[in-house]
Amino acid sequence: MRGSTEDVNINFERNRQWITQRLLQLRQRISLVSSEENCPSVRGKVCERAMDVAPELAARRDAAKPVPVLFELRGISKQFPGVKALDDVSFEIARGEVHMLLGENGAGKSTLMKVLCGAYRADSGELFHNGKPAEIATPADARGFGIAVIFQEFTLVPYLDIAQNIFLGREFRGRVPGFVDRKRLYSEARRMLDMIGFDIDPHTPVHELGVAQQQMVEIAKALSQNARILVMDEPTAALSDRETERLFAIIGQLRKSGVAIVYISHRLAEVFALGDRITVLRDGRKIASVLPSETSPDDLVRLMVGRTVDRTYAREYCKNPGDVLLEVKGLASDNGISEISLAVRAGEIVGLCGLVGSGRTEIARAIFGADRVTAGEIRLLGERIGGSPEDSARRGMALIPENRKQQGLALGRSVGDNIVLASLHKMFPSGIYVPGRASKTARAGIEQLRIATPSPNRSVSVLSGGNQQKVVVAKWLTADARVFIFDEPTRGIDVGAKAEIFRLIDQLVQKGAGVLMISSEQAEIVHVCDRAYVMRASRIVGELARAELTEANIVRLGMHQ
């Protein structure tokens, strides 16, 4: 561990030139991107050339091959129930390169990295280390090859200090069995921290550190394990500009000393500022590996979008929307979202998209009254509402949450009980439960949505995901809801049931309801919605009308930074 990390310890000055150059590029990209966005005409232009993937780009695939290859994944496939997460993906990592891994939500980036670090085993495919066949079955195997991963969820223990965290599980043995050689622990930790220029007392408890500092501890931990390949999953997601610069400087240092870095990112500016090579995944397939000098942000967006979508999702789009059912103005909540303004009209399916973590679910919760609203107003059917989920539900709003098992269903109860759950106060104003009336209402709901259950008395927990989703919708239909907010309605549902869920949502708007649909599947938004809002960093950054609603435009608005 000790001798071989010496070469990492490189004078900061020697890297300064490289770093400065990269940061300059980064700034240029940022200004380029923001000026592009501010231009009012760009939306139309973007739309015109949205889906035509340049043929020469495909030809460029695999053009870039720096040597020597340190680690190679060849023909990796991985199947999960109902979805092919990776399909014949090959990926190389060269010594001293920063390899950017790019793709939309669900493109397969995380799965590929989990295969590399031993968390998953590929169904088929081969691994090579320095050209020799290698096998990675466990995280320990991956560590043996010098592969270290820094996940977005840190693997740090909050109430241990920095040194104890760096060497957790690999403590230096003291003279007395079981005891730790503390002198060595802190001096070695100091050495690791010096290597990345992190000037902090290694006795500091980790829970007192900010996100950026915790990330540095993770990097020091990886280096102490003699990492030669460092995988970073969206490392700048929670960092400020200054912290990002610092991180880039460290990455530059590591790169110079021969450490290979696989960098997963959603920020195109970063991709160009840092990357020596860029690999794009889509739908579990490798689309291209290109050099930054040979590509442009536009090219990359085109490579990333265009996921295959079931044609049956298409519907008759709404031409003449009715009255405004839901109107939100200048909304902010204590969950971080701010200046949110949107409207949903009768007969419309309105999409709400953006990257995971961009604040979509927070908007839904704030509108429904589940999070505290700190500014702005919400009008439902013209009347101002606000405050509690009970109030919203009574006045005709329904939230169908992402995690229906935890938040949308009483799993221990029957289908019938679940359907009448939100209407009990209306059906039985006296407070006395009449089983006959309840079961009649439940049967009507089952019939209307064609829920596949032999009887209303069947436990809801045995139904399929699609049918459970229908039970949640039936619950709100019974409660006379007019505005439905769907948060990730198709998550964990197989392809056939997906089409049915969309038919169901379509039925709702046909009957005069308004729907706000949150989805990470941009292709679904594009095919199903009449209109969509795009979010980034807890704000709405754009609205796309039906004619401009393309994946490329969503990615453009949601990703540029």
Binding site: V157, Y159, V180
Partner: protein
Amino acid sequence: MTAQAANTANAILTRIPGVAIALVALIAVFSMASPAFATLSNLQNILIQSTILLLLALPMTLIIMTEGLDLSMGAVLTLASIALAITVVATGSSALGLAAALAVGLAFGLLNGCLVALLDIPPFIATLGTLGIAQGLSLVVTDGQSVVGIPRALQQVYGGTFGGVPIPILIGIVAFAAIHLLLYRTRFGNYIFALGGNREALKLAGVSDRAMLVATYLVGGTMAGFAALLMTARMNSAHPTAGIGLEFDAIAAVAVGGTSFERGNGWLVGTLLGVLVVGVLRNGLNLMAVPSSAQVAGIGALVIAALLIDGLRSRS
């Protein structure tokens, strides 16, 4: 006072742990309420009487730090005490008696650990079950009667002195030092922090989290065995209901001491102070002739007050 001085005073005040304030306040109140409280012999009494609780509260801190709980400690102490008394009466050997008590403690520690770590039974349920088993066995073995005939030598463990210092206080100091070293200086101690703080990190570091969890409950059983020695010496006998409710006092002391039930945030000095708070409260209420049943209510109220105050302080 200038504004700056006020700020500094405020900053210092917020750094003093709530449990220390509670201890000082209780001592002040009881000193005023009863002339018998603030005497040297009474304060020494409080320390002596608190050692049994300390021996349970120390390992309880470790177990709670792993996001666990051990409700069986009082009942295991009782059963260990009975095993000790029967062995001593039968063989006349105190060493064999202590060995029997430790064997009972280790057996239940292992059982608790296996139920929680290997079978994934929630600690509350698992240790509630072993509480019942240990309590039931105690009653069956003794037929509900006390085991008497403890030799004088054994009674000296509680009543005697060594170099002028009461032996229970010495045992308490040794136990505190041992658990302190275990938690803050050994690899196992690091892993206890990780069990509650980030179990995934521990697994990724290649450490068996299950083995470490079992070991933590084993520490609890062992300490209950030692506490049984003190309890038997103190009562001059073993009684099948002697330890009932001790786990309540132990958990209360840990909670009042500021150990959090999540994220592996524990503090042994806090637990020591928490034990003294419970000890002072019991002693003071005794002097004021408050019946022991009402004392339990007092401790309960204290726990809630301590957690409320800590919550308010951390928010501000």
